[in-house]
Symmetry: C2
Subunit: 216 residues, 2 copies
């Protein structure tokens, strides 16, 4: 299931929907908070890991989530529009909890407008990259990827400062993670937050967060 | 206590610091996620209520919070820079929880750059206002307030579309709320989220959020 409201600039989808299928379903001129690259677990996996490659706060782009807590309880958190997301918020703790709060059923994302979109690649490493205002940055082996959308001139400026050449089409990284995608240094992909490695390892969880998880 | 890092664009302050004292301590060209208006409870009160007058997602601007949970436990949530705010996040649930998760001790806010800043007023009501890209919008009686910071041309454009005249100085609304500020229709102040009324009433809390609060 993928439901899009161009007027409200939101998208609600089943957690098992593939990331590239979301790209294929986007209304003209609206973009989600992830680049066009497939990763294991589809949308639910992405949200559970707190996103991929973004340079902004991913949690603010997840307006709502319905999830099954470890107790089996079904939790409906957040809303379906920007305006009705208020306090008492259980959406944000779910985002990036690596499964500790359970598994998502449906996710509502904010979509943001872009008159232009570009995705470029060039040789390089994240730690050598000068500051750049791209929405998405990641490294695959010794290749850097940059993705950005927005006003035409802004996208042109970001791409000019990055250099490189246009990336060809979409990317499917899912097959690199037969054991599930997790954090670690063994894999080829990394972004500003984590190295992403096969095996599904989660970052260490604070004990207090475990108490919250157990309360749901 | 107010500690500012202009390089990291963050500010950490005791929860009891007044909002206007934060404005007085800002580095040149950086602004907090609230307008220059005093409200009861200072910074801690503001965060507990989920902000005032903002048109963006306030939770994303609170990078970290240290709070005393209802159990008496001291919780250190989030981080002090944009980059180290990741998953397992107890900051966002605190923001806008109207005291359900306890009371803040210190708060770390993101500051955002603005080459220009403007604050204007004119007669009017929020429900009659056409869409406007201001960061802060509120209504005091029959007077509308708009505040914005950013690039010079952007601020000029927002103010031109609003009209009105420059507001004179800062505002102290704290004395209007002898019983504490809460949500409701009885008061003179309102923003896009709530009417703000004397007496400190909180919006209804979902039962599950109460379980989370009890777990901390």
């Amino acid at each position: 299931m993928i439901e899009v409201s161009a007027a409200d600039q939101v998208l609600t989808a089943s957690a098992n929907v593939n990331l590239l299928d979301i790209y294929a379903a986007l209304p003209a001129g609206l973009y989600p908070p992830f680049p066009p690259a497939e990763l294991p677990g589809g949308l639910g996996g992405l949200v559970s890991r707190g996103g991929f490659a973004q340079t902004f706060f991913f949690g603010a782009e997840v307006l709502g989530v319905t999830f099954i807590a470890p107790s089996g309880r079904r939790v409906v958190a957040g809303g379906r529009t920007v305006k009705n997301v208020q306090g008492y918020d259980l959406t944000r703790p779910f985002v990036g909890s690596f499964g500790a709060l359970g598994r998502a059923e449906t996710v509502t994302l904010r979509l943001r407008p872009g008159l232009a979109f570009a995705h470029r690649v060039r040789p390089g490493r994240l730690e050598d990259l000068p500051e750049i205002r791209a929405r998405f940055l990641w490294q695959d082996g010794d290749t850097l990827h940059v993705c950005h959308f927005g006003h035409h001139r802004e996208v042109q400026a970001v791409m000019a400062s990055f250099g490189g050449e246009a990336a060809a089409g979409t990317l499917d990284y899912a097959s690199r993670f037969p054991g599930g995608v997790g954090v670690g240094e063994g894999g080829s992909l990394r972004d500003r937050r984590f190295g992403w490695a096969d095996g599904g390892a989660a970052p260490p969880m604070p004990a207090l967060f475990g108490k919250v998880a157990a309360s749901l």
